[in-house]
Symmetry: C2
Subunit: 112 residues, 2 copies
Amino acid sequence: MKLALLVRTDLGMGRGKIAAQVAHAAVAAVLASGQADLAAWLADGQAKVVLRVADGEHLLDLARQAAASGLTVEVVRDAGRTQVAAGTATCCAIGPAGDERVDAVTGELPLL
Amino acid sequence: MKLALLVRTDLGMGRGKIAAQVAHAAVAAVLASGQADLAAWLADGQAKVVLRVADGEHLLDLARQAAASGLTVEVVRDAGRTQVAAGTATCCAIGPAGDERVDAVTGELPLL
């Protein structure tokens, strides 16, 4: 089981901003995921992997693919108070789910 | 309401590693927090603030202060597979709780 956290690298976000966006996505995924997936992921060590995507088009394309395959998907849109424009999709959580199902969507992405 | 996420800056962690540790801390805080605090924080926009501490001593000292004042505290210790030694305290979540209670412990810290 794993939770994939995808971050755009084209927005020039600093490390603190990135960490906050990834935390938003992870918490949203935990709150949105089904009890069975959540319990299995927690029991399995709650693995998280932080990956990078080149731009918003890539982020949203992968979010659509993940949703189409039945995975929990949470896109974070920034409130725009700092660094990026309001409503900008910055980050996306996919899962938690079995490694193979997550990797089928995100397996090509490099670590952030 | 806010959730403070404290990160050590003396470990040389990269931005992806920092993001993963902060996500661990945020999820742990959500799972550990009481229903009333969690509901109030979610309703209030689930604010997160990512702050920096100089070293492990400072991190654990603030964790102790927060626990002594009755705040939810979750210290993340790294499994040690990458970048830092196993068991190293990397990050700490304080809250979610009212801004004043969190600021009483973390108010002197700079943003990451």
